[in-house]
Amino acid sequence: MAVFDTPQEAFGVLRPVCVQLTKVQTVENVERLQAQLQKVNAAALQELQEYVLFPLRFTLKTPGPKRERLVQSVVECIRSILSVTCVKKQDLLHELFSELCTCLSSPSGLKRPPPQSEEVKLTVIQALQALMHSAYGDILLSLYQPSTLPHLGFAVSLLLALAEQEKAKEIRTSALKCLQALLLHCDCQEYHRLLDKEESQRCGDLFASFLPGISITLSRMITGDIKQGHMITVSAIKLFYQTVGFIMADEQLRRFPEKKEKPRVEQSRIADLMVHRGPDWVQSTADKLSLLIHKIVESSSVHQHWKVRLELVELAHHLMLKSSQSLVASVGQLLKALVGLVNDDSPKVRSRSSEVLRSIAEQKVITENRALADVLSENLHSLATALPRLMTSQDDQGKLSTLNVLLGSLKLLGSKMNIVLNSTAHLHRLSKALMQVLELDVTDVKIVEERRQGELPASLQHGLQKGQAQKKYFRFFTDERIFPLLQQVCRVLGYYGNLYLLVDHFMGLYSESVAFRKQAALVLNELITGAAGLGLDVLHEREAAPSMDDLKGTITSILEEYTDQANWHLVTSTEEQEEANDKLAIPPSRLRALTEGAHSSSHVLSSAAALEPNPTIRSMNSNIWQLCIQLEGVGCFTHALGKEFRVLLMSALYPVLEKAGDSTLFISQTATGTMVDICQACGYGSVQQLISENTDYLVNGISLSLRRVAHQPHASRVLETMLRHSDASLFPLVKDVIQDVLFTLDQSYDSQAASFLRVLHSLMAALEVFPATAEEPQGNDTGAEGEASLPAHAQVAKDVMERCIHLLSDKSLRVRLKVLDVLELGVTVLHPHDNHLLPMAHRAWPALVTRLINDDPLAVLRAFKVLCTLAEKCGDFLRQRFSKDVLPKLAGSLSSQAPVSARAGPVYSHTLAFKLQLAVLQGLGPLCEKLDMGEGDLNRVAGTCLVYLSARQPMKLQEAARSVFLHLMHVDPDATWLLLNGVCCPHRYPPPHASLRPVQLSGMGRPRGELTDNVLHLLGELEQRERAMLWPRTQGAPEPHGPPPP
């Protein structure tokens, strides 16, 4: 676009306008010059620079008041010249600099912003900016001499005033930018000469004089009204740290001697203005700056705009990098800011601040710089001291930021934290705070209530509890981010800290008081995780990780403590209490009533708790949590050791399995999760594999525990869990210990029957699904008894059933119920071996009969189930006995009781008599079917049950009676049809041929009676079944019986 390339041509063009402007100083003339300048290329203009500038500067210097428009256009023109040319002469630079500054001078000094219009101000600032950029290399530095100090000072004050007090954002930002350039920290794209050490030193000396003004003004701006917009705050922060970092640079300050150098400058007035950056000055300045930095951190760290917070990170980084020694008093403040921003909402701030922390740590600024390490330790000391108070007094947000700072300080200190930890008082404080804040909320009653459903399939549980920790609730906070933070704190402690010291300390707390036990265990778990270097993010590697043997040793000792009798066998349910009481032979009537109330124990329990604020519910709850935390600990330990944990399985697996068999759902879930953890860490493919490859350890534990009465229930739980999680392949391995179980049972029927029955039940359940192929060959045990020898598993089933027969008459209902269950499974297992099963059935019969006719309704029901299974497996064998021993009594009692229940009111359904009737009625139907009973017996059953079809009977009994008839329909539909029609016949049946006599049924034409409804219902059902049976077949087949469908 330039038209005039050579200076000569340019001169020809520019000369007239310059002359004209010199003569007449008007805006028009300036604009004309401006227009001509556009046509001149930069090189040519450079030659003519001074010539062209002359009329402009002359205009500015002309005395007398000037119109602002003129000033503005002149300055604008100067700016445009400067932006394409270089200032190569020192004098020119100095003169232009002061001339431009003078444009904004005001009579009122610098207290208030200059009175000129905003346009003028902006143009002048821009021209100054252009001047700073056009000054040629060394020439620019000539501006920074003690002699120019007043000029510079004026410019700095002017720009600060503009930046702070103007309204227009543009002016403020430009002023800050210009100031940045003036202070040699311009960050624009253009080339800037780098200062060498000497030069920096000199400039630093000069700028030191401005530091108070700059820092105070900027900090005012930074902490000022947020309505000013984040851009200004960001720029101000940047300028602040650049300036402070430059003037307070450790590198520069290191060279200053105590004594003031003899001023090189003779002008004493200027020499007075100069600052000597000696130690005293540094100290006092740092103190003042620390106040400002504190304010800046306070306000910026919570600034709404993330860019401001990001700039704060840069501030901290820059100052720590450049001036960590001179500003040592502020380092704590800066670190706190950084550490606090590590968990910022904005991902950019988060990543940058952790990056900065990491780089600080990596550069060993902390660890090698003693002063800084001291500051951090100091901080940690005071934080540790205040922590207990803060943890109780702060809200969640406050706790969060306090803990963030704690975590950050620990991470930065690294191994140096041991200095603090070695102080007993501080470790004590720190741990006290952790104990306080980690206190669990144990008021959730549900945890105690939820029982494990005994037969939950193992595979189902895996999916549910894939190594996840139970969700915890805490007394003193609810924010979900706090617990992970606390975990991090503990892990970092474990990572860098002296593991022996810490473990010892928290083990001390663990055993010291129940109040701390759970928290201490939580901490211990995380310490180990951290010590193994798991689940944490550190800034720098520790110098020496604990050896695998050390870690193993530590873990072993914690495990020993966790699984110690006193810490592992805690009362967690009323059942256990009851069991314990059973042993003491004190009948706790209330509790017994509760459990006898069958499976709805949760309901009963909670109402019991409501009736009587039972303090033990709370303690049981606490115990449950205790165990869960310890179980989770085992999970942590196994991950910490990996495959090395396999050696510890010898002692650790048994207690875990014991808890997996706990009746409290919460505990068994956690323990199952721990087993999954162990599988993962130790390289087992499944829980089943874990158990089968360690059966020897488990069996060893079981057999030793069986020798101690108090441990027997635990042993049975372990065995139960083993069986529950395994298939038949386990059987050969546990056979040995099953003999021990049976032996022990023989020794202690009374006291231990209940707990052993659970095992026997699991055992039988496992044997029931025993695949025939897995039967082991009978080695040298093949007896010459003549009897066909039994496979080992059937032999065990037989052995178990032997014991069951004895226990069938046990005085405890719970035992009797369980025995019936076991017996039923036993029948199934032994079924293929009739010559063993039948004698067994024969021996069990008398006791079973008693259960059927003279026991609690619950037992009657179960006994019926056993009877049904037995009937299925050896029906012929039982038919006779049943009709002789059982049926008459049952029928008799049903008949005699019928009038009573028919008359009874609503309360009747709570009586034992009712339950018994119901049980018998519910059981009879299936039994008739299974036993394939003879006609006489069937008639007897039907006759007895008929009265219960009466509408006067309680609804439940009617239903049960109907179920009997539904079963009878299966056995003999015709007879049932006839019987029912004998009571009530809804249809007429015209003979198909006139020669046949009409069908006469006794129920025909009867008036509606009490039985009618149920009979009609049953007949309807019967009809439907007939149809369902008939229609799928050939349509034309003659109907064998029953009325034709209407």
Binding site: M650, D696, Y697, V699, N700, S703, L704, R708, D736, Q739
Partner: protein, 332 residues
């Protein structure tokens, strides 16, 4: 009242399962330093020798060299690099176990069909004596190993009617001294043999029934033997090398299958037919404990050779296929 009651007998430290057959003999090797782990050799009725890692309590290796015939004596030589095993297949096998190997490098045949266990005595570096029942039912043969040359055959005088040798114990009064043999016989006598002369020095009829096991404490010149009766017999050897009954200890149940004095000569253990292990103080034969764990005859008892006394263990092998490991009276 509780204070006056004796402490309840302890439980086993642990129980090793998996021999799948009655256990007849046990032998510890626990002296080696880390990273080597303590091991226990077991010989069972199914002809297998199993090497148990006492750190993991698991079988590290199984040696099958007796054709399924009961192994009833095992002993290590050269640290744990070599092992001797005596089986009912009438063979004594020498196993090379060094560097993870496990093969029979040599074997000695015996014609004896009895249950008499061999006895081994180290004479010098790489030279051992082994006493074993000889071809003739009432004789004992002593061989030198590894050369297998016969040192002597100990033949009772005609008409002595000792019956078969039942148990043997080679010993020497001091290292390098002339070796002796204590042998228990079917007729219930214990005989002291001088090996260099091949001569019977003393005979003591201390049992009515066959001597099942004996052990001799050469330092106190005192020995103990058990038989199928209800009696433990303690006898001593005087300076004229005559055996004398020192004391007898009545037991409640009859039958001792093994008796062993601990290396420190403080206690001794017996393996009982009544399924029990008994511990006595060796000095006064004070009964210390009755260990009740096994559910069948206990066949053998053995003390470990841990260098630290506090780690010492006792192992017992039983017909019930289990090996129980106990930690007893270690705090001396």
């Amino acid at each position: 009242m509780i204070a006056t009651m004796a402490l309840p007998p302890p439980d086993p430290e642990f129980v090793l399962r998996g021999t799948a057959a009655p256990v007849h003999t046990l032998h510890f090797s626990c002296r080696s330093q880390e990273p080597e782990f303590p091991i226990l050799f077991s010989g069972s009725a199914n002809g297998l020798v199993q090497i148990w890692n006492l750190k993991t309590h698991r079988v590290d290796k199984t040696l099958d060299g007796h054709g399924g015939k009961s192994v009833y004596w095992v002993e290590t030589i050269r640290g744990r690099d070599e092992l001797l095993s005596q089986g009912r297949d009438q063979k004594i096998c020498l196993w090379d176990l060094a560097e993870g190997r496990s093969m029979v490098t040599d074997s000695v045949s015996m014609d004896s069909v009895g249950f008499c266990r061999c006895s081994l005595l180290k004479m010098a570096q790489d030279r051992w004596l082994i006493a074993m029942p000889a071809d003739d039912p009432d004789e004992v043969q002593v061989l030198e190993l590894p050369s297998k040359t016969s040192v002597c055959t100990l033949k009772p005088e005609a008409g002595a009617k000792l019956g078969m040798p039942m148990c043997l114990k080679l010993w020497q009064p001091g290292f390098g001294a002339c070796p002796f043999l204590m042998a228990g016989y079917e007729d219930g006598s214990v005989i002291l043999w001088n090996l260099s002369m091949g001569k019977m020095l003393s005979r003591l009829a201390c049992h009515q029934e066959p001597v099942m096991s004996l052990d001799f404490d050469s330092e106190k010149a005192k020995g103990v033997s058990g038989s199928s009766e209800k009696v433990l017999s303690v006898w001593s050897l005087d300076e004229q090398q005559n055996l004398k009954v020192h004391k007898t200890h009545e037991l409640i149940n009859s039958g001792i299958s093994d008796v062993t004095i601990r290396q420190d000569r403080k206690i001794l253990a017996t393996a009982g037919w009544d399924y029990r292990i008994r511990i006595f103080g060796w000095k006064k034969m004070k009964p210390l404990a009755v260990l009740d764990f096994h559910t069948a005859t206990v066949h053998c008892v053995s003390f470990s050779d841990h260098s630290r006394p506090s780690e010492r263990l006792l192992a017992a092998g039983s017909k019930d296929h289990r090996i129980s490991i106990w930690s007893l009276y270690n705090q001396t």
